[in-house]
Symmetry: D2
Subunit: 355 residues, 4 copies
């Protein structure tokens, strides 16, 4: 097909990388042009042409084998030779900071799943302590970066060279709040509470004391209170002041899924229909968000789906609401949002390969 | 021993009843006078003198057998014959409503673990829809009932005929808030958020769609938003108005444990030391509450213990706090709090048999 | 399309029924002719044309809604009117016993997921105590039934009127053993041990004491020792005597997945290559079974896939082997095997809609 | 008390060490003489007299604090100064190999929870590859070591200088089999299958890919097939040949507990009463083993208890049996068995502090 697009993925070994690979391998527009997988590969594996994907992620193989798909030794030449047009980075923050400039210089569009380029404000980035913070080059690239939430920035994403894919917690909270803020319903000065709970895959693949089964199982713990680095994304994307939201993440004893319980006060008491209307007005064209007209979503509704689900309950007097927002942290919270961004960037149907 | 106390337990078959039995059987003051266990027993079991406790709860037996302990057919005569002085009711609300009057009439002191007698205000009791609501008899008994949280009502419990043992969620929230309200630190008019999460044992032993493993496992769901019946306990015990607190319970995919994340605003910005001081001033004489001077408690700290654990984190400007309160819903949230009340009622050390 | 096939599903409300619906709705050969879903529907729902599928299984809906798909009130006329050619029964054993004769009489081919028609030998059926056991009609139908494991009976299934879809445990054990028995490698007289472990969905959707989260979680229990009704399937399909195999099922604290650990003795000591050869010879044309050439499969490899995975380890002297066989009890152990049978019955690619 | 015994524990930081500390701190005979906890401590902690136990294991503290209990910097002088008589080693195998000679030379009796000294036969020890294997000193100490299973070696343990506390899997299998072998009931030449399943705490506290929540949760995997190092203990203690037993461990998605399903053939068909009699004859004086006269034990029966539970089911013809043996791997599989050994060594009631 003349319009075949060559993609590449760096960081396929992690949880989000594996889901991204699965989505891209089954994407109808990428049939016949599977992504290039590249990364650090030791000499012995390099000699055999890279590590077969099925050795890294057995679930990615089918009965016929996954054929020639291999994690190849990364080099910029490899990407050039294969004429890669879109590069997915599912890499640590620091790595994304240092690789993005080179990719852009080579004319490759980038969808970065890390936190490297999400934040416009230096104050909000402070928590990351990037090495190149403040450099002219970094500042220039930051200016080009588009926050990759199509529900908010569809048009800018379409033309973007660099898309900063949102954080998983941030996605669940922003999608629940932005429609109400945009409609002018919320008393944001009063303050918003976002009490979020995430499965263990959100903590990454590295074995640590907190990802040990004995720590996480049969437990629940709050962490990063007043200090979690996704807070900056909330402030910038919802356009509220730093004192206007308290975000508390918790570690759930489940593999995947996020549920955020969000507490808001309206400027004036609301009826259910008006709030539903605000959501529909904002999200009506957004295929990957499902509004629960009755009842509240729960984690089982969204795990292993590419959707974010939102529902709410009004207080009896209509002055307050409890909003519940759920998604799969590895999908709409990471990889499927990245594919959604790809679709928007290339002018494809936004939900292509995601339903 | 001349001061031997005869206790009785109705409702040993449930989760809280089993824990209560375990605590009473090991209580140093009750050595030699184990509680009487009574309840509904079919004819065949009645003929063999009741159901051996080990058949109901294998974990209550030891290698030597639990001997003569049996669940006997209930009758008031049985309690009279054995000279029962304190009766524990681990029974459904309606059953507690109808049995308590008779027990009190017979001069038996009662510790009721249900929600039957916890609420002073008729409006707060509406959610229970008690059949005898509004009757003079019920009103008279309600006046005598003491809310069984020793940290708040130690003196009244000591002399009480009827102790209404608190709800599990309510215990976790009240213990976290009352010390700060008592110290006058909180801006209660601003509003408080209590986002609580409980293990499945809190939903009881009856097999239902929501206690099915396939519903609860790998899931998280909010329920009873703005309508949960423990809310009334919060209002009455913390002494705040109905609009001043939003309480949202969630069902956690773990067997037991509650963690409440509570969001408060201070009247004026506070320093950590002042908040610690308020907690210490209120809870200093309370052996069953542990204050985390550093860090936050988590569910694994309290499961299978009789403690409630409390910790908090101040916002950078000191104007807000996130408080985390944990307990085991079957212990400090039910049975061990009942034993704590027993200790207070009988003038024993408050923590006896609980450490 | 002239060769459009109309299918129907009775029993969509259960776990296997839901997975079956999902598979059929996405089957490439059934695009445009979704299955008819029918069953017991109360009057009020009947009046609105049945229950929307999305109300029963929210995960079956997409953002655009699942449209007109409804669980309709069952009648034979409904099936006739819609010209249903293949009927899936995901119903209790007794219901399948009584409905199959009528369906066959009406010329509808049936794939029955229950245990109603799996067993040729009356002795093996005794455990089911079917009401019509021994009747001429039942005997006649039983003779027509084909055990629906394509890896063993591909040809007979292709022409079958009635396919008896195998039990979940039985599938995991038979697929592991049949290739070695067929190759004459096993000393079956010595005896075989099949120690199987299944997730809770295998126990069905009805809330019972054993499906209660508090029973299943953090637990493991053996049950049905020497008496489980899947044993008959093993005897008949592997063609061994009743004393030649001991099958012990266990309840695992996970939602889904079966792992069977199987212990065999060879007639003469074997090398790994010879055993691999026997598996390849038997399963080479079977797309839904994956042989692990190295290492052993585990439950995470197969959950939410349509495959059965098999691996083994030889004893140092080659006289014995430990075989590990895994599958998803709701998929290859039930619904995806049913779709595999559909594919074979209709002459389609065996793995169509399953990879 | 004149007969006060001073104990010490090396290795309190691990899971078994924490349980051992808990048991010793509550042991009635050790009231007033808590164990000394010693190990590697960095300089800063050494300066403050060691690490408070409550910082390492919050669950070991009570509301009053655990007072002066600290993990102190280890030195042999410390043990001498405090006149330590019994030393518990909850340390890695290699460390136990190197420390035991010194302890014995200093006249300290040792209970070693590692695998360092459990195996009499060099062939069975090969899997450990001890550095000092074959040295005269190691051989001399090995001769003195007594396998610390009181049910088998009560008398020898009473006089032992060095007790090698059994492996967790081995305990569950040996207790189930030894009574039947001792009674001459088993056809051991035919072969025994032990299919064992253990919770994740058995894999230790170090974060590794296999103890990661994402690997263990919702999964089941077999490992160490034909090669697990506990196999040697089975061979030596049950007194059977290397080809007579196949032992297969599996990793269960639960924190703690072992269930072994064991398959045996009798020399001649047996009746249930005869098998029960064999168990009672062997275990009648063993307070820490509970025989299930009816039904089978399951993991929930034993978790957080100090018991091993055993039950069995005969085949219809009485020629075979399936035995189910359960215990808590951290308790009867490690720390409570160590305390049981302590009791036997000091002539105390065997179950003291364990019921």
């Amino acid at each position: 097909m003349s319009d075949a697009i060559q993609t590449a993925v760096i960081g396929v070994t992690g949880y989000a990388g594996a889901e991204l690979a699965r989505l891209l391998l089954h994407h109808p527009r990428l049939k016949g042009t599977p992504p290039v997988f590249a990364g650090r590969v030791d000499e012995r594996d390099a000699e055999r042409g890279g590590i077969p994907l099925g050795e890294i992620h057995p679930e990615l193989t089918d009965s016929r084998g996954s054929g020639d798909l291999r994690l190849k030794p990364f080099s910029w030449e490899l990407l050039s030779d294969l004429d890669v047009q879109v590069l997915f980075l599912a890499t640590p923050h620091e790595q994304s900071r240092s690789w993005v400039p080179e990719a852009l210089a080579r004319g490759i569009r980038v969808i970065d799943l890390s936190g490297a380029w999400r934040l416009k404000e230096a104050a909000n980035r402070a928590v990351y302590a990037f090495e190149d913070e403040g450099s002219a080059k970094a500042e220039e690239i930051q200016q080009q970066a588009v926050y990759g939430m199509p529900e908010l920035h569809r048009r800018a994403i379409a033309g973007a060279k660099l898309v900063a894919n949102p954080g998983c917690y941030a996605t669940s909270v922003i999608l629940a709040l932005k429609p109400l803020v945009a409609a002018g319903l919320l008393d944001t000065e009063y303050g918003i509470i976002a009490d979020s709970k995430s499965g263990v895959s959100g903590a990454g693949k590295a074995p640590t004391p907190k990802t040990h089964f004995m720590y996480a199982a049969d437990n629940l713990s709050a962490y990063g209170v007043f200090t979690h680095r996704h807070t900056g994304e909330l402030l910038e994307q919802i356009s509220i002041g730093a004192d206007s939201i308290i975000f508390t993440p918790h570690l759930l004893p489940i593999p995947r899924g996020i549920l955020s319980t969000i507490y808001v006060k309206f400027r004036t008491p609301q009826k259910r229909a008006a709030v539903l209307h605000a959501y529909r007005a904002f999200l009506g064209q957004s295929p990957m968000v499902r509004l629960h007209e009755h009842g509240l979503p729960q984690i089982q509704h969204v795990v292993r789906t590419n959707y974010a689900d939102i529902g709410f309950q009004l207080s009896p007097d209509g002055s307050r609401a409890v909003i519940v927002s759920c998604l799969d942290n590895l999908l709409k919270g990471a990889s499927s949002q990245a594919v959604q961004n790809l679709n928007v960037m290339l002018g494809w149907e936004e939900s292509e390969g995601l339903e």
